[in-house]
């Protein structure tokens, strides 16, 4: 077992995958509590489908770097979804469902009809379920992921107190002069970045799991916002590492293995939480 791990570690793409995977897991866990409590988890899910649609367009345009299209499109949709959430002509969740399925359908359609890639099924499969995408990142993508993850962590730490205040009580924050809309916008942009990053790790259909499970598990056991946040981060990183190791050693798909580990760990946390009560 150990010598096998040692052997795999010699492959540069395995080392990159572990580094990038850990960073992505870390930043996707940070905003989990905010997303869950503000009923934003569906926005995350919807955005992941949008990211898939953007990815399809990028693939068809044959760009050397997909993120140039995926990132702005996802961020714009995040901002739009957030706005429709507040100004409800079409109810927020309906708008999200609409955008997400439309993006998914058009994404797949575009890929099938116009794709110049030789491996459509591979692209779709890897993008949706992240079977191996984390192991097949290009150098540029690796650096981009590292830079963006570090930026997300930095932003989160810097705005930690404000994000807490706005998440806990938006009206109070607004009343005492905090720019709650600005912070909501910030959260939306950061979520969009996290989703585009996480698409590499677990694929766009499984992103929500990466965002929600750490937060929900931590909330079973811990009581303060700080401890929940710290535990979420540790939980997420541990599960991602474990999941990646299992999938590399056993040959299972990366994304679903990580999520399976997340689910198992959630069950343990739920049990611990129940016993502690």
């Amino acid at each position: 077992m150990l010598d096998k791990i040692f052997l795999y570690m010699q492959y540069p793409f395995v080392r990159y995958a572990l580094i990038v995977g850990v960073l992505i897991a870390l930043c996707s866990s940070l905003l989990g509590v905010t997303l869950v409590l503000k009923r934003f988890s569906f926005i995350g899910d919807g955005l992941s489908h949008v990211a898939f649609g953007a990815m399809a367009i990028a693939t068809v345009l044959n760009l050397s770097n997909n993120m140039l299209i995926i990132m702005p499109v996802t961020i714009i949709c995040a901002v739009l979804l957030l706005r429709t959430g507040q100004n409800t002509k079409i109810k927020g969740d309906a708008a999200i469902a609409m955008i997400s399925v439309a993006a998914l359908a058009f994404g797949y359609l575009i890929m099938n009809v116009f794709s110049t890639s030789a491996n459509v099924s591979g692209d779709v499969c890897s993008t949706l379920f992240g079977s191996t995408s984390i192991l097949t990142l290009s150098k540029v993508e690796v650096y981009l992921c590292i830079i963006l993850s570090v930026a997300v962590v930095f932003i989160f730490v810097l705005f930690y107190n404000r994000i807490f205040a706005v998440t806990f009580d938006e009206n109070f924050s607004r009343a005492v002069g905090t720019n709650a809309d600005g912070y909501n916008l910030l959260v939306a942009v950061v979520i969009a970045i996290i989703i585009v990053l996480a698409m590499n790790l677990v694929g766009s259909l499984l992103i929500s799991a990466l965002v929600i499970f750490p937060a929900l598990s931590a909330m079973r056991i811990f009581k303060s916002f700080k401890s929940v946040t710290v535990f979420s981060a540790v939980f997420s990183v541990t599960c991602a590492l474990l999941g990646m190791m299992i999938s590399i050693l056993m040959g299972t798909p990366v994304g679903s293995t990580i999520v399976a580990v997340d689910v198992a760990a959630f069950a343990i946390c739920a049990l611990v939480g129940a016993v502690a009560k």
Partner: protein, 209 residues
């Protein structure tokens, strides 16, 4: 047959032939471009029947080889290489030293990822000896009549597939395997240009039983 050896990276053949999920656009492009004449179709038929005939004897040859070298499969490979002047100095033993990239000892996720990396960054692998196990697949270019042989590797979900084309060495006594057969191939990685695309190939390849 051997005169038809040309290089091709067959990605889409794999997804089309082996998994049926998705759309092999590379293949369809080639088919669209070629105008199929009756002759071509006949040739195709000839080719496939040729193939079918050939397979019967090979399978027995295969068995014989297996029986002979049951305990020393690797030695067989080494012998084969020793006969090859280019690869003379390569020592071969488990887990196949002399092989720079041994895909047969990796898990399926790793195999797929490594092949993906080979295909996306081929220049870094040129000249390296690669050993891979996969499903044999042939593809006939209907325009030129050229036949390409590839070793296809699927990812863990068996949904996405990557393949590398191989050209058997002149000294290889075994014939090209039949479609769908599991084969282990050792060859020297190289790329070549055909039209606007760059293709990857394993040249001077040996089949390992």
């Amino acid at each position: 047959m051997k005169t038809l050896k040309r290089g091709l990276l067959i990605l889409s053949v794999a997804s089309l032939l082996l998994t049926g999920c998705g759309n092999g656009s590379d293949v369809s492009k080639r088919t669209k471009n070629s105008t199929k004449s009756v002759e071509d179709v006949l040739n195709e038929g000839m080719n496939s029947s040729d193939e079918a005939v050939k397979v019967e004897s090979p399978s027995s040859v295969n068995e014989i080889v297996k029986d002979d070298t049951q305990d020393e499969i690797v030695l067989t490979a080494a012998d084969l290489y020793e006969e090859d002047p280019v690869e003379e100095e390569l020592p071969v033993a488990t887990p196949a030293p002399g092989v720079d990239v041994d895909l047969t000892v990796l898990s399926s996720t790793m195999v797929y990822s490594e092949v993906y990396n080979i295909v996306s960054l081929p220049e870094e692998y040129i000249g390296k000896v690669i050993k891979m196990e996969g499903i044999a697949s042939t593809y006939i270019d209907e325009e030129t009549g050229a036949i390409y042989y590839a070793c296809i590797i699927q990812d863990a979900t068996a949904c996405c597939a990557q393949g590398i084309e191989y050209i058997l060495s002149e000294d290889e006594t075994l014939p090209y395997p039949e479609d769908g057969e599991i084969v282990t191939v050792i060859g020297v990685f190289d790329t070549y240009q055909e039209g606007e695309y760059t293709y990857c190939t394993l040249k001077d390849a040996k089949l390992v039983a």
